[in-house]
C-alpha cells in the first residue's frame, strides 16, 4: 500500500471527489431520475466529510447531523420522486431538457 498514514485529509479528498462525481451527474445527465440519484451522492459526500470530522474531533454531534441529513434525504427523495411521477404523468417524459417552461 501507500506508505502514508490515513489522515483526515484523505477522507476530505475522498469526499470532494465523490462530490465532484455527483456534481457531474447532476449537471450532465438529462434524466431527472439519474439527477436525483446524483443528488444522493452529493449528500453522501457531505455525510462522509461530517463523519470524518466527528472522528477527528472525537465528538458525536456531527454524527447526529448526519443522521438528520439521512432522514431529510429520505423525505426529499420521497417528495422528489412523487413530483417526478406527477411530471411524468403530465409530460410523458423525465428529461430535464424538455422542461423549459420558465423561459420568458
Amino acid at each position: 500500500m501507500m506508505g502514508a498514514e490515513i489522515t483526515l485529509g484523505h477522507y476530505l479528498a475522498l469526499s470532494g471527489l465523490l462530490f465532484l462525481v455527483g456534481l457531474a451527474g447532476v449537471l450532465l445527465r438529462r434524466s431527472l431520475l439519474i439527477v436525483m440519484m446524483s443528488l444522493e451522492l452529493l449528500l453522501n459526500a457531505a455525510n462522509l466529510a461530517l463523519v470524518a470530522a466527528a472522528r477527528f474531533q472525537g465528538i458525536p454531534d456531527p454524527q447526529v447531523a448526519v443522521f438528520f441529513v439521512i432522514t431529510v434525504a429520505a423525505a426529499e427523495v420521497a417528495v422528489g420522486l412523487a413530483i417526478l411521477v406527477a411530471i411524468f404523468r403530465l409530460k410523458k417524459t423525465t428529461s430535464a431538457e424538455d422542461f423549459a417552461t420558465l423561459k420568458f
Partner: protein, 601 residues
C-alpha cells in the same frame, strides 16, 4: 350701545344681500326696497356714529380673536376712529344716493334683484375695509370688494365685453393684491403686528431701510391695483362696461379710493422710507397728467370720466406721497361728490339717449335735458377746480404742498389744464350744437328718482368744500400757503377752457386726431404683446420640457432602461433547471474560492 353701531352699519347690507339672494330674488318689487332700506339704515347709523364718540381717540368695538399663530394675532374688530367714521358716512351716503338713482336707472332691467343684491354686497365689503382694524381683515374685505366689483362690472354678463372687462379688472387687481399681501407679511415681520392702532404707535423701528421700503412698496402695490394707478390702471376704463350707477359708486366715488384709504391707514409705515414716499408722489404726479391727456381724445362719455377719475385719484395718491393725508382725504370726499355727480349725469344722458355713449352721436342735449346739463356744469367746475366749487378747495390744498417740488407741481397743474380742456370738450360736444343721431333727438330727462340724487350731490359738490374734513380727522397740516401755486393752477385750469371752446364750439367731428392718445398710450397693447409673448414663451418652454424631459427622458427613458435591462437579462434565462444549478454551483465555488484565497492571504 354706540360701540355696536359699526356692527349694525356693517351687517345690514350683508343681511340685505343674503336675504335677496336666497329669498327675495324672484320678487324685485320687494327685493329692491329691502336693499335701499338696508343702505338707508347703514347711512343713518353712520350719521349717528359720526357725531358720537370723541373726535380724537378711536372707538374700538368689541373684538374677537380670530387667528392666533405664534406672534401673529389677527382679531376681528371694528375700528371706528374719525377716519373710519367719516369714510363710512361718505360710503353709505353716496351708496344711498346711487341706490335711489338706480331705482330709476335700472327700473326696466329684469335682473334688478341681482343688481341690488350685488350692490348691497359691495356696500358691506366696502364698509368692512373702512372699519377694519388690522391689515388681515382689511385684506379679506379688500378681496370681497374685488369680488363685488367683478360681479357688478360683469352684471350684463351676456355682453362679451362686460365679461372680458370683469375678468380684466379681477386679474389686474390680483396683481395688486399679491403685492398687498407681501406688504402685509412684511409689516408683520418687521413690526410684529398688523393692527393699525399698534402700527401707528411703532413707527420707530430698527428694521433696515430696504425692508421698510419693500414693505411700503408692497402696500403701495395693493393701492395701485385697487385705485387703478400706473401701471395697474388698465382695468378701470374697461370697467365702464358695467351699469353706470356701478361706475359712479364703485369706480369713481368709493371703491377705487379704497387704495388711498389704505395708504392713509398704513402711512406710519410708508413714512419710514423716503424712497417709498417719493415713489408714491411721483406715481401720483404722473398719473394726474397721463390720463388727463388720454381723456382729451376719448369719445365714450363714461371713458372720459373714467380717465378723469384716474387723474383725480392720482392727486390723492400724490398728497399721501407728500405726507399730507389730510388734504388727500379732503379731496377724496369732494371728489366722491362731484365725480359721483358727473357719472350720474352721464348715466342720465345715456339713459335719456337710449343707451348711446358716444358723445359724437349726441349733441343738442342742453334743450332736451336742461337739468342734467346744469349738474354736469357743476361737476365740471368742481373737477376743474374753479372757485368757489368744492374741488377748488381740496385741490388747492394739495397744490400748496407741491410748492417746493417743481416737478410734481408741473405735472399736476398741467393735468388741471387738460382736465378743463376735456371736460369742456365733453360738454360742448354732447350738449351743444345739433343732435347728431336719432337717439339724441329723442332724448329726455330721467324720472325724479334719478333727478333728486343728482340734485343732492350737486349741492354737496358746490358746498362740499366747506366741510372741515382735515380738521375732523385731526390731520390739518401746518399752513404752507403759497400764492403762486393758487394763481398758477387757477390760470392753467381756466386756460384749459379756451382751446376747447374754439375747437369744439361747432365741430361736427373731432378736429383733433392724436393716435397716441386715442390709443391710450398703447398700454393695453403693450401688455397684450408682452404678456402674450411671455406666456407663449413660457408655454413653449413648458411644452418642450414636458416633451423632452418629462415624456422623453423620464417616462420613455425609464421605460427603455427597464425594458432593455429586461431584454438583456432574459437572454440568460433558458428555463433549464440544470443551467441554473450550474450557475448556482459556479457561484458557490467562486465564493468558497474567494474565502480560501482570502484566508490563505
Amino acid at each position: 350701545m354706540i360701540a355696536y353701531a359699526p356692527y349694525l352699519i356693517l351687517l345690514l347690507p350683508l343681511f340685505s344681500a343674503v336675504l335677496i339672494r336666497l329669498v327675495l330674488h324672484p320678487f324685485p318689487r320687494i327685493a329692491v326696497p329691502v336693499s335701499v332700506a338696508a343702505c338707508l339704515g347703514s347711512f343713518l347709523g353712520s350719521l349717528v356714529l359720526l357725531n358720537g364718540g370723541t373726535p380724537s381717540g378711536g372707538m374700538a368695538a368689541p373684538a374677537v380673536t380670530w387667528i392666533e399663530l405664534g406672534g401673529l394675532k389677527a382679531g376681528f374688530a371694528l375700528m371706528a376712529d374719525p377716519l373710519a367714521r367719516l369714510m363710512a358716512t361718505l360710503v353709505t351716503g353716496v351708496a344711498l344716493l346711487v341706490h335711489i338713482y338706480s331705482l330709476g336707472y335700472m327700473a326696466k332691467d329684469p335682473c334688478r334683484s341681482r343688481f341690488f343684491a350685488e350692490l348691497s354686497l359691495f356696500v358691506f365689503s366696502m364698509l368692512g375695509i373702512v372699519f377694519a382694524d388690522n391689515l388681515v381683515s382689511m385684506f379679506i374685505f379688500w378681496e370681497l370688494v374685488g369680488l363685488s366689483s367683478y360681479l357688478l362690472i360683469g352684471f350684463w354678463h351676456s355682453r362679451p365685453a362686460a365679461g372680458a372687462a370683469a375678468n380684466k379688472a379681477f386679474l389686474v387687481n390680483r396683481i395688486g393684491d399679491f403685492g398687498f399681501l407681501l406688504g402685509i407679511l412684511g409689516a408683520w415681520s418687521i413690526f410684529g403686528t398688523i393692527s393699525f392702532a399698534d402700527l401707528s404707535g411703532r413707527v420707530a423701528t430698527e428694521a433696515p431701510f430696504w425692508a421698510v421700503t419693500a414693505t411700503g412698496l408692497g402696500l403701495l402695490c395693493g393701492c395701485l391695483g385697487k385705485s387703478a394707478q400706473l401701471p395697474l390702471h388698465v382695468w378701470l376704463p374697461d370697467s365702464m362696461e358695467g351699469p353706470t350707477p356701478v361706475s359712479s359708486l364703485l369706480h369713481a366715488a368709493t371703491m377705487v379710493v379704497a387704495g388711498v384709504y389704505m395708504l392713509i391707514r398704513v402711512l406710519p409705515i410708508l413714512e419710514l422710507s423716503a424712497l417709498t414716499m417719493n415713489t408714491i408722489a411721483w406715481i401720483g404726479a404722473l398719473m394726474t397728467l397721463l390720463p388727463a391727456l388720454v381723456a382729451c381724445q376719448q369719445n365714450d362719455i363714461k371713458r372720459i370720466l373714467a380717465y378723469s377719475t384716474l387723474s383725480e385719484i392720482a392727486y390723492m395718491v400724490m398728497a399721501i406721497g407728500l405726507g399730507i393725508p389730510g388734504p388727500g382725504m379732503y379731496h377724496l370726499v369732494t371728489h366722491a361728490f362731484f365725480k359721483c355727480l358727473l357719472f350720474l349725469a352721464a348715466g342720465s344722458v345715456i339713459h335719456g339717449c337710449h343707451g348711446e355713449q358716444d358723445i359724437w352721436k349726441m349733441g343738442g342735449l342742453r334743450q332736451r335735458m336742461p337739468f342734467t346739463f346744469l349738474v354736469t356744469w357743476v361737476g365740471t367746475l368742481a373737477l376743474a377746480a374753479i372757485p368757489p366749487v368744492s374741488g377748488f378747495w381740496s385741490k388747492d390744498a394739495i397744490f400748496a404742498a407741491t410748492h417746493d417740488r417743481p416737478g410734481l407741481a408741473a405735472c399736476s397743474m398741467l393735468a388741471g389744464f387738460f382736465t378743463s380742456f376735456f371736460m369742456l370738450r365733453m360738454i360742448l360736444v354732447a350738449f351743444e350744437g345739433k343732435p347728431r343721431s336719432e337717439n339724441a333727438r329723442h332724448a329726455h330727462e330721467g324720472p325724479p328718482v334719478m333727478v333728486v340724487p343728482m340734485l343732492i350731490l350737486a349741492v354737496f359738490a358746490v358746498f362740499g368744500g366747506m366741510l372741515p374734513v382735515a380738521e375732523f380727522l385731526g390731520m390739518k397740516p401746518e399752513q404752507s400757503h403759497q400764492a403762486w401755486t393758487l394763481w398758477l393752477s387757477l390760470i392753467l385750469a381756466a386756460a384749459g377752457f379756451l382751446p376747447a371752446y374754439f375747437l369744439y364750439r361747432d365741430a361736427p367731428k373731432d378736429p383733433l386726431q392724436v393716435p397716441l392718445l386715442q390709443g391710450k398710450f398703447y398700454v393695453d397693447e403693450f401688455y397684450q404683446r408682452v404678456l402674450v409673448a411671455t406666456q407663449d414663451g413660457l408655454g413653449r418652454l413648458a411644452d418642450a420640457f414636458e416633451g423632452w424631459v418629462v415624456r422623453g427622458l423620464l417616462v420613455r427613458g425609464s421605460g427603455v432602461v427597464a425594458r432593455s435591462a429586461g431584454q438583456g437579462l432574459r437572454l440568460i434565462q433558458c428555463g433549464q433547471v440544470q443551467f441554473y444549478a450550474a450557475v448556482f454551483i459556479l457561484g458557490t465555488l467562486g465564493l468558497v474560492a474567494w474565502l480560501l484565497w482570502k484566508g490563505a492571504a
